[in-house]
Subunit: 269 residues, 3 copies
Amino acid sequence: MLARPIITLTTDYGLKDSFVGLMKGVILGINPDANIIDISHNIGRHNIYEASQVIAMSYKYFPSATIHVSVVDPGVGGARRPILVITENHYFIGPDNGIFTPIFERQSNFFKVLHLNSSHYFLPSEGATFHGRDIFSPIAAWLSRGVDSSKFGEPITDYQTISLPTPLLSDGNTISGEVVSSDNFGNTITNITVDILSKLAPVEPKDKFKIIYKDKAISFLNYYAEAEDNALSATINGFGHLELFVNKKNAFQMFDMNIGDTVTVTYVN
Amino acid sequence: MLARPIITLTTDYGLKDSFVGLMKGVILGINPDANIIDISHNIGRHNIYEASQVIAMSYKYFPSATIHVSVVDPGVGGARRPILVITENHYFIGPDNGIFTPIFERQSNFFKVLHLNSSHYFLPSEGATFHGRDIFSPIAAWLSRGVDSSKFGEPITDYQTISLPTPLLSDGNTISGEVVSSDNFGNTITNITVDILSKLAPVEPKDKFKIIYKDKAISFLNYYAEAEDNALSATINGFGHLELFVNKKNAFQMFDMNIGDTVTVTYVN
Amino acid sequence: MLARPIITLTTDYGLKDSFVGLMKGVILGINPDANIIDISHNIGRHNIYEASQVIAMSYKYFPSATIHVSVVDPGVGGARRPILVITENHYFIGPDNGIFTPIFERQSNFFKVLHLNSSHYFLPSEGATFHGRDIFSPIAAWLSRGVDSSKFGEPITDYQTISLPTPLLSDGNTISGEVVSSDNFGNTITNITVDILSKLAPVEPKDKFKIIYKDKAISFLNYYAEAEDNALSATINGFGHLELFVNKKNAFQMFDMNIGDTVTVTYVN
């Protein structure tokens, strides 16, 4: 453990209510040395898929032993279980609703999952609407203090997963992927990665790849400012994903894009 | 004091301007060990009542000796006094405009109030528009360093309060309360608490309580996912308040609700 | 260096994506003792001028040796250089696109600028879209650990600047300035400062100054609550700037204001 163990928070709680602040209060009441870092509290309400993508792209940029608390939890208070996922280097705490699917599906497949049912570690509470504060925060805080994870619950193997879209390879030279998110700038992220592209061919030179969105060909560039004004273009973003963009403009809005839209890449030898 | 004393911030400053960041800069310049936690900076502009509710529901989730700085301050720079409220376990710093009314009205009635007039603890400043940075932050920081609170000003007893809506009991079996806020999910919080309900009868079984909003009866459930789709329902939320909701939908918008709307609960034996 | 060196962040990344959280993850991976403080992540997208104003008004409220990371970076990945600006008391890290112009133009003119080209301090990354995470954060973190700044790159003198509007003095008694920003409350900030006004005459009594906006005279007051209801008024704000406001209302919207609008102040003896 670090002298100041890191706990990250990813939720759909928003930044108007006191929900996030209270999670921090509860954590610091248990472990005053915790270093609590916000990843996002503006995940779309109840959007488990969106949260799963944010977690998948984020966790690896944090040091070993970081504890990631992720709460998009429409089933709060009902039958869905609270879980702790332990991998080689990271801990993940949240509801068992598929939010951690990308962690389960990583290439490295070492992990274990605990059903958090040792309720004496929970915060006593009257209602059943706020497990972010009452279950996930205290478990994260006790874990960050060094309590052995086996004390929090029982191992399970029937954890829930959600279906994640996977790019398809066809004709040996075409990859068919889809739009999975857009960012603050209206840049549009696809599920086509450098790793997948490199199954077709080395990613340089880029002009060997023909990218199609809504029947139009898109230039494949090295960085944003290379693009022609107002032209939909593509680049490899900082997460190794193919991203569609318009330089200094909102591509997602300008081209009326939607999550799930098809993007294809063909290698032209 | 903790090794890293906690200072919370609740304001209507928003998250675009640098106001909140500057409060933190000033605090850390005085006490580099302060652990500054945001509760909310998106309180409605000038909405003293809303801030008072957020503070009332939040402070108890923080450790003893936490210092809560709360700044919704339309009277900044004028005659209204800056104050420090000291209770058994917490400190509250902000303007004397009623923002701390729920603290004054708690069942436990031990507290004292100081008028902060020792201006040598303030940050010198040219204008009179930003006491969050110039008065409240430095006082919080010096207090967190262990300066005795009596040095900051004089005790007063004529502090300001605002009127808070109180549920009414009638006929010995009906409570008439009102909507006091809505949250990020459009869940609608009332001022009817478990404590008040239990004056009628034990809160279980819930079907002994008939809840009425806009002349319609509402199911009283244990958690969100129990509700029928699109049906306005009620539950006890994590703060012990009766809350109206629609599962995975925005009840406040769907049912055209307003702060101040009446909600009644009748015990049917 | 402080035991917990302060690194501030100012970006146009917004608070929905994980961008800001990842910068913090990278920093803490290099320096677990860093104390990371958000100034704003809601700078207008690609708005270098707005960022420059926020930085100019903010940095001096932080302790000596604070490291300010400022990323509004439409040219990311292209020819624009990453730079480190060193002044007597502060460090500034960001793109060489003029974002630090107000630092270069301060009265105290000691500073040096380094082109950050020691790429072994960078985070290896596949794409070229996220230098906030891959270059600026790691450099800030290594600097906060005490690595000598000379190791990060070469001194340059041909850094970029942007044009900043300057108030004009005419007839020996009139200052013509302009609107430079508006804040969360719709208060409208001008580039006319107390320092500039005091070149005409001492700023008290205020009624010796005639302030004109859109051909109408505006009362010059000491604080917000002094103003008549709905009247456009002026005061000196907490940053020493002349600010136009309507008490408890949004002046910027009510009076259809725009950045760049002219405001004049005449001293009437």
